[in-house]
Each structure stands twice: as structure tokens, then as C-alpha cells.
């Protein structure tokens, strides 16, 4: 690399006032004895002037007003309220987001896995106990326990018929069945001492319901 090549790397920084003092001194000394580099510096300066003279375009007068109107509309929306809630919770905001994502993931997992649970022989049966459940009175909370697979087609039919009757009977007792001990049910699900998630079947709509209590 020649002296001129090295100096021309610095010309732009010199022109922009961004060169270090020793770089400025180096360039000044070179420019005094070199005919080509001063021409290069002048062309950089002219280029800068020409670029700054390129016509800009007018920004619409209503630009700022349009922005504030959009913000006002956003503030009325759920997305904004959620963001505000996150901000006000401060450090808990990110934990809330993580909990929210985990909850959604749990719900999606259960909804996707439910058909496979049925086909693998898992059955639901009601858990009796004292009342503490946020579910509607038409639902019944059940625990999921694996049951032995019926042997042979005939026995499988009887088993299924019994299950249908069982469920039908439980629907009639839905109001009473609504008073179930969630804690007991959840403990029956997966063991452990604290509540994590409750899962039950809503027979009228054939929907699996997941309830996630407040995590403490």
C-alpha cells in the first residue's frame, strides 16, 4: 500500500472532523508534498456538498398529529393496556410474560395431547370432595388416571358403555359435581405438594378444560 493509499483512507475522517490529532498531522504533512491527494480531498468535499443539496421531500404537516391520533387509539386497545400492565408491574412484568407463555403452552399441549390420551386408554373419573373450583356448574372436574386397557373387543365395548353411562350420570349431577376439591384433584393428577394445573373434561361440549391457579 502506497503512502497515498494510506492517506486517502484517512481523508474522509479528516474531512468529517473525526480524525485523531496524530492522523491529522500525518495527513497535513502528506498533503504538502503530494499533488494527487489534495484533489481527492476536494472531491470528497464536493461530494458532501452535492449530497446535502439533494432535495429532500416535504414531510406532511399532519405527520405528528397522525402519530398522536394513532397512539390515542392504541391506548384504548387491549394491546396497550397489556403493555401498561407489564410496565407497572416492573420487574414482575417479564415474569408475568413468561408465566403467560407457559400457560398458553400448557393449554396447547393438553388440547393437542387429549386425542392421544383417549386412544392410549387413559380414562377420566370424577374425584369427590369439598368445593373450591372456578369451573361452571355444568362442568365436572375429573382426574386423569391411567386405566387398564380392556381385553378383547367385547370387553372394550362393555367398558365403553359403562363409561358413557358414568359420564351421563355425572352430567345430571353436574351442579353437585361442581363442588370439587381442586387441590385434591390436582394432587391426584401429578403428585407434588403445590397446585400446578388442573385438567378436566367438559362433557357437554366434549372439551378438555385446563385451569391454572395463581402461581405463588
Amino acid at each position: 500500500m502506497t503512502d497515498c493509499d494510506e492517506i486517502q483512507l484517512l481523508l474522509g475522517a479528516v474531512q468529517d472532523g473525526e480524525a485523531e490529532p496524530h492522523e491529522m498531522a500525518l495527513v497535513d504533512a502528506h498533503l504538502d508534498r503530494c499533488p494527487a491527494c489534495p484533489a481527492a480531498l476536494r472531491s470528497y468535499e464536493a461530494l458532501g456538498v452535492a449530497l446535502r443539496e439533494l432535495p429532500g421531500f416535504p414531510i406532511p404537516r399532519q405527520f405528528a398529529q397522525n402519530v398522536t391520533k394513532r397512539l390515542t387509539r392504541l391506548q384504548g386497545g387491549g394491546r396497550w393496556r397489556l403493555a401498561q400492565l407489564g410496565r407497572s408491574l416492573g420487574a414482575f412484568g417479564s415474569a408475568l410474560e413468561i408465566a403467560g407463555v407457559a400457560a398458553v403452552a400448557a393449554i396447547v399441549t393438553v388440547l393437542v395431547a387429549t386425542p392421544y390420551l383417549h386412544s392410549s386408554g387413559l380414562r377420566m373419573h370424577p374425584v369427590q370432595g369439598a368445593a373450591q373450583s372456578p369451573i361452571s356448574s355444568t362442568a365436572q372436574a375429573v382426574a386423569i388416571q391411567p386405566v387398564g386397557l380392556a381385553k378383547g373387543a367385547g370387553q372394550a365395548d362393555e367398558f365403553r358403555q359403562a363409561e358413557v353411562q358414568n359420564v351421563a350420570g355425572k352430567i345430571e349431577d353436574a351442579d353437585a359435581a361442581a363442588t370439587l376439591d381442586t387441590q385434591e384433584m390436582v394432587s391426584a393428577l401429578g403428585g407434588g405438594s403445590g397446585p400446578s394445573v388442573a385438567v378436566w373434561n367438559e362433557p357437554r361440549t366434549d372439551t378438555t378444560v385446563v385451569w391454572i391457579p395463581d402461581q405463588r
Binding site: 449530497l51 421531500f57 398522536t68
Partner: protein
């Protein structure tokens, strides 16, 4: 708070008021920085309509994230960084990088403004302006962005480095290349 009081408020006060939900206070910040934010977007995407839309998105995003703004950098640099990120993401999604060369390219370039609905090329005053616009089109987006941020928007090397999240050395090297390239293209156009 009255409008006059808002106009007299310092930037820190306006930011705090905006954090508290005062969109009018934020509107004053928008007025102060709109030209520069549009300029940053324009440097990246090189299209007026897109630049205006991206600038609006920038301010919306900034308002939503005011809680995350810390005083380590200046508000303007923080704003420009949002603008650059949004614009770069847009450019990547849209894939709008056109390199036009030679006679065929010139014909194509002349058609572009009316087809795209902007007057970017038409608004260039004088022959030098038009030639310079064509030369800018031949740069890569990265090189065009740094030279416009430096020469047109007047950002320092450190500010450009922070806005584009590129090392200062990379900014300097891209600037040097862009200047050299523009000089060469303009010389070629002169001789062509």
C-alpha cells in the same frame, strides 16, 4: 398541562410526561425529531412513501417502549436506532435492492418513480443531482445508509455506529468505500 407549558418543557420532562401517558407531550417530541427520523428511514429504504410510513412506526414503537429508554444514550440516538432497525427489517422483507447498469438500467430507472408512485428521481434538481441519485442506487444498502447518515443527516461516526449497531471501524471503512465508489461512478457517467 397547557400547550405552552409543554412547548417550554425540557426533553426529559416531555419524555416523563409521555411515559405517564401524555400523548400530546410525545407529539412535541415527534415534531422535533420527525425530519431526522424520516431521513434515517429514507437513507435505508430510499423510497419516500415507505420512509414516511416507517417513520410513523418508529414513533409508535418508541412510545410503546419509553419505559425501556435509559439515559445512557441520547433520546435522538435511541430514536434513530429504532428507525434504522425497523427500516432495515422492512428492506430485508421487501427485498428492494435494485442494481441498474448501463443504458438499459437508465431506461429502467427513468420508469421507476412513476411506477412506484414517488418522485424521488424527478425531484432531483439539476443534472448533477440526477447523476448522484443514480450513483446512490448503485451502492449497496449498507454503504448508501452510512454515507447518507453522515453527509445528509450529519450524524457523527459514533452516532452512526450506535444507530446501526456496527463497530466504528466498519462505519469508517464503509464510508470510505462509498465515497470512492460514488466518485468512480460519477466519473464513469461523465465519460460515458
Amino acid at each position: 398541562m397547557s400547550n405552552q407549558a409543554r412547548l417550554d418543557a425540557t426533553e426529559a420532562e416531555l419524555i416523563q410526561q409521555a411515559r405517564d401517558g401524555d400523548t400530546q407531550a410525545f407529539g412535541i417530541l415527534v415534531e422535533r425529531y420527525q425530519r431526522r427520523v424520516v431521513g434515517v428511514a429514507m437513507a435505508v429504504v430510499h423510497n419516500q412513501d415507505d420512509a414516511l410510513e416507517l417513520a410513523q412506526e418508529t414513533f409508535i414503537r418508541a412510545y410503546e417502549n419509553l419505559g425501556k429508554f435509559e439515559s445512557r444514550s441520547s433520546f435522538s440516538t435511541w430514536l434513530y436506532r429504532i428507525a434504522a432497525n425497523i427500516s432495515i427489517d422492512f428492506r430485508r422483507r421487501e427485498g428492494r435492492h435494485i442494481v441498474l447498469r448501463g443504458e438499459e438500467g437508465e431506461h429502467e430507472l427513468d420508469r421507476l418513480p412513476s411506477e412506484r408512485g414517488d418522485s424521488f428521481l424527478e425531484s432531483a434538481r439539476g443534472e448533477l443531482g440526477r447523476r448522484l441519485q443514480r450513483a446512490l442506487q448503485e451502492l449497496t444498502p449498507e454503504h448508501r445508509t452510512v454515507i447518507l447518515l453522515r453527509e445528509v443527516e450529519g450524524l457523527s461516526y459514533d452516532e452512526i455506529s450506535e444507530v446501526l449497531q456496527s463497530p466504528r471501524g466498519t462505519v469508517m471503512s464503509r464510508l470510505h468505500y462509498a465515497r470512492d465508489r460514488l466518485r468512480t461512478i460519477l466519473n464513469d457517467l461523465d465519460q460515458g
